[in-house]
């Protein structure tokens, strides 16, 4: 057996201290296989060693939470027998190396996390960050990632209903691909990953194991340098057809009362799935690796244990149900194998061709998994000079809506099957959140994902809190009651103090906002080391929010009808720092807008109740976010292909601040009856003011400018088409 050298240890991403700890746990030197297992189990990706301490501070409980973080995905109660299972996960590094496969397998992985718990996935979303459109790689990465996401979800038959896409040079060499999946399950049919029952068989099903992505989990936790591209580790190839077979066969088997525990083989493959199941159930496992179906010849135990071949599941079944288990998998044309048994030794014992090749104590390994309190330091405040903007309102409006970040994302979401399953009521660009009917029922769920990295870069705490508030607002605007979130924390290298500062601050901000809004965190994912040559991405804590609409007839989109009135709900304070307007004038410095969570709650509740109680006079609703009031109005006009006459209230002195400020807690409410809204707002003491009417065929601010609606739409559509075609 190969001697474990210092180089081998560092190649495995383990520190000297961690290696000493391994020896202490084993009471001897590890062999290569054991070292490999430790290295993936203790990788940032699997152990959360840099963030665990802080993640524990997040609010994770609530009256609707059935299962918080710790399982494959979080679960919330949505009334009657129904529950939702959801989570978000990143596939950033693999997508940079191979955008199509990287993104596709990201979608596949998150769907397995959801259906492994017994749920049928009903919606996918994705949150994407690319480098500057001018960067030589961006176009290929964009096309590959979008196609990969689309092809995978489309083939499995799960609608991809929403998401976001944002370009910024800080992502030039570290794109972000975060995929979210929501599934539906009956409360009494939830499956967990807690192994039980000495002697129970461990069944492997799905794709045959190959040498794919060996060391993917440690790769996902390592910084890139210029060599990373040529040094390419084996990428994982996705097989959505296999995923569909796994989904259907697992759903069928789950009806049979056969499964004791089930877990997908995600990052760190067979290692982490078997280890985690045993660890949660406080038992031991014995694996016979020669039984593992392999795609390639002469695979070693090391390769088999660490392979990240996609579309594989591991389950513990009742011995009496082995027969039916194999029958069901056979019906679906899948390879299933019994590869081991649950034991009471408390150890993971790995056999290969009858010989023991590795033995690790489960509990000590799990308990001593490292947890760091890495030093953090607030970066020195930079002084900045404010540049004055000399764009007219019309110029700025056109510049913003035809910019990469604000132009229509049709090119993206037309590649996604948004409608399969026939329960999509609204998808991206129709409403602030996607709205999906709970099949065969009168209720619907609303889903969104949000993050403003510009804000987060300036103030990670406030920026992250605003992300939470924005997702909450998006749900409110569809008439939903927000319930819970999942998050995906994307940052640079945590070993740097200023990055660790961002991480701590962002988690703190999420916690504060979630507590105030009664909006707990039920699952999530952390992606660190998103940097290349010492240049980190902007901190990007993406929030995926989920809410419930009890009566789907009240689901609200961005719809406007002729002669409707458009009201601004909430106050304009005129904050322009970091706004799209300022950025359109190359003024990129400053603070994010202030966030008053009490006001957020008050305005949100008002909107939510108004939509619910006065639905007959509400046409639509839209929250005000990046770009401010005028962009929100333009978006209404564009998505409805209808003209809007905007009237500036008499009290307004500064047009730029009025139209472009990005103050929080604001909505546009589109109603058929001004009087009623004014009356109710007065009673509830909420500030509302009429800002426009749905009229004619152009978008205009009275006494300022007028743009024909067709032209406005062209501005909004042009960028993607030109960019891709060229």
């Amino acid at each position: 057996m190969k001697e474990i050298s210092k180089k081998i240890i560092s190649d495995h991403g383990l520190s000297k201290e961690e290696y000493l700890l391994i020896k202490k746990i084993l009471k001897r030197k590890p062999n290569l296989l054991e070292l490999g297992i430790f290295s993936v189990m203790w990788s940032e990706h699997c152990s959360y060693k840099s963030t665990k301490k802080w993640l524990k501070t997040l609010p994770t409980k609530g009256e609707n939470v059935i299962c918080g973080p710790g399982e494959n995905a979080g679960i919330i109660d949505i009334g009657e027998e129904d529950a939702l299972v959801f989570k978000m996960e990143s596939h950033n590094h693999p997508s940079f190396i191979e955008p199509y496969q990287g993104a596709a397998t990201g979608v596949g992985g998150i769907m397995r996390d959801v259906f492994t718990m017994g749920a049928r996935p009903i919606a996918n979303l994705n949150s994407l960050r690319f480098g500057s459109p001018k960067h030589s790689k961006t176009k290929n990465l964009l096309s590959g990632v979008v196609k990969g996401i689309g092809d995978y979800g489309n083939c499995v038959g799960i609608p991809t209903v929403g998401g976001e896409c944002f370009f910024h040079e800080s992502y030039n060499n570290n794109i972000l691909v975060n995929a979210m999946c929501v599934g539906l399950v009956k409360k009494n049919k939830i499956f967990y990953s807690i192994a039980k029952g000495v002697g129970n068989p461990i069944i492997y099903v799905g794709s045959k194991t190959g040498r794919d992505g060996i060391h993917g989990a440690t790769m996902a936790s390592a910084e890139f340098d210029d060599n990373s591209e040529s040094n390419r580790p084996q990428v994982q190839v996705g097989d959505p057809f296999m995923e569909k077979l796994l989904l259907e066969s697992c759903q069928e088997l789950m009806k049979e009362d056969a499964i004791i525990a089930i877990q997908d083989m995600g990052a760190a493959g067979l290692t982490s799935s078997s280890f985690e199941m045993a660890s949660k159930g406080s038992c031991g496992v014995r694996l016979n690796l020669e039984k593992v179906p392999c795609r390639e010849k002469n695979m070693t135990p090391y390769e088999i244990m660490l392979s990240e071949t996609q579309e594989r599941m591991l389950m513990i079944v009742k011995p009496s149900k082995k027969k039916i288990t194999f029958e069901i998998f056979k019906k679906w044309g899948l390879d299933a194998q019994e590869i081991g048994k649950i034991t009471d030794t408390g150890n993971m014992e790995i056999f290969f061709e009858k010989k023991i090749v590795g033995k690790l104590p489960i509990k000590p390994l799990a308990d001593s998994s490292p947890e760091y309190d890495r030093p953090a330091k607030k970066p020195a405040k930079k002084k900045f000079k404010s540049v004055t903007c000399n764009l007219s309102i019309q110029e700025a409006l056109i510049k913003i809506i035809s910019s990469p970040n604000h132009s229509s994302k049709k090119w993206i979401f037309n590649q996604y099957d948004k409608l399969v399953m026939c329960d999509t009521l609204f998808f991206s660009e129709q409403a602030d959140a996607a709205v999906i009917r709970v099949h065969n029922s009168n209720k619907a769920i609303a889903i969104t994902c949000d993050c403003n990295p510009i804000y987060c870069n300036s103030d990670p705490k406030l920026g992250a809190a605003i992300g939470v508030a924005e997702s909450w607002r998006n749900l409110i605007a569809t008439g939903a009651d927000p319930i819970a979130i999942t998050d995906n924390l994307n940052f640079g290298n945590p070993e740097k103090e200023e990055i660790m500062f961002q991480i701590k601050e962002a988690i703190n901000g999420i916690g504060i906002a979630c507590k105030a809004l009664n909006y707990p965190v039920v699952s999530g994912n952390v992606s660190l080391y998103n940097e290349t040559n010492q240049k980190s991405i902007f901190p990007t804590p993406v929030i995926g929010g989920v809410g419930l609409i009890k009566d789907l007839s009240k689901a609200t989109s961005m719809k406007i009808n002729k002669n409707d009135s458009i009201f601004l709900v909430g106050e304009c304070k005129g904050h322009l720092e970091l706004s799209e307007y300022n950025r359109a004038c190359n003024n990129n410095e400053g603070k994010p807008p202030e966030l008053d969570l009490k006001k957020e709650l008050r305005n949100g509740r008002f909107i939510r109740n108004f939509i619910q109680e006065n639905n007959n006079i509400v046409s639509g609703c839209h929250d005000i976010s990046e770009g401010g009031l005028i962009i929100a109005l333009a978006e209404l006009a564009i998505s409805n292909k209808k003209g809007i006459k905007v009237k500036t209230p008499d009290h307004v002195k500064n047009y730029e601040r009025w139209y472009f400020s990005e103050d929080q807690a604001r909505y546009l409410l589109i109603v058929k009856n001004d009087k009623k809204l004014n009356e109710i707002a007065k009673i509830k003491n909420i500030k509302v003011q009429k800002v426009g009417e749905v009229k004619g065929n152009s978008f205009s601010i009275i006494n300022k400018f007028e743009i024909p609606i067709k032209k406005l739409i062209n501005y909004n559509n042009a960028w993607f088409n030109n960019y891709i075609e060229k």
């Binding site: 489309n154 083939c155 499995v156 038959g157 097989d239 037309n414 399969v420 009521l425 689901a555």
Partner: protein
């Protein structure tokens, strides 16, 4: 409710089987039996549907592997006997691959999957599938990567001469032009029937147009089929 059942053939990778069955039960008002691709007998053959999706992952060419399934031999048998067969999206691709319908479906001309609403001009108003549509133009969504209909000039002429073209992609007002062609299909063809006129293949999804949140023209389509039973 009619006593008869209709059948939906389910292949590994089909993913519109449930969607189709919901619409059929609700608007055609009959029960649905699912037939697994490996079954070599179809009990309810009065009307047979081939659903959308990615049968066998759409590997090699969309629909081709499905044509090797035992159930397809049965479908061919009942097709020849004149029973109505309807293939939607992947179902259409399967029907051309097993030669029950003319032509083939190439990759979309921009090489990308496309999901959007389309308007369809009803070209033949006499066929058993379209005579109850009662609208000049209907609106059904499409969602496919391989929907670019192609056939040889001879067989195109045959399709035209026999009035076998049922749907063409069009503008809202029924104009058939390049702008309304979503995928490059020859002459904007979106749906055709066979010479005997009992088999329909179409790329757009009527089962996705039955909700008040979008188009409801699919209801007309399914209700119209009711007469055939």
């Amino acid at each position: 409710m009619s006593k008869k059942n209709v059948s939906i053939i389910v292949f590994p990778g089909s993913n519109c089987d449930r969607d189709l069955s919901v619409s059929i039960q609700k608007y055609l008002n009959v029960k649905v039996s699912y037939v697994w691709h490996n079954d070599s007998k179809i009990e309810n053959y009065e009307m047979i549907f081939l659903p959308g999706g990615f049968s066998f992952g759409d590997y090699l060419r969309a629909g081709v592997i499905a044509t090797k399934s035992p159930a397809i031999h049965e479908v061919i048998k009942y097709a020849k006997k004149g029973f109505p067969i309807i293939g939607i999206c992947n179902g259409f691709q399967i029907l051309t691959e097993c030669n029950l319908l003319k032509g083939t479906l190439l990759k979309n001309n921009n090489q990308l999957f496309k999901c959007e609403n389309t308007h369809l001009k009803v070209e033949n108003k006499e066929s058993i599938f379209s005579k109850n549509l009662k609208k000049k133009v209907v609106e059904f969504p499409i969602a496919h990567a391989q929907g670019n209909f192609y056939t040889t000039p001879d067989s195109l002429k045959e399709l035209e001469d026999n009035n076998q073209i049922i749907f063409k992609y069009s503008s809202k007002n029924g104009n058939i032009n390049k702008e309304s062609n979503p995928n490059g299909s020859l002459n904007n063809i979106a749906g055709i029937i066979n010479k005997k006129k009992n088999i329909l293949g179409m790329m757009p999804h009527p089962e996705r147009a039955v909700d008040k949140f979008g188009s409801q023209d699919g209801i007309l389509f399914f209700k119209g089929l009711g007469e055939l039973l």
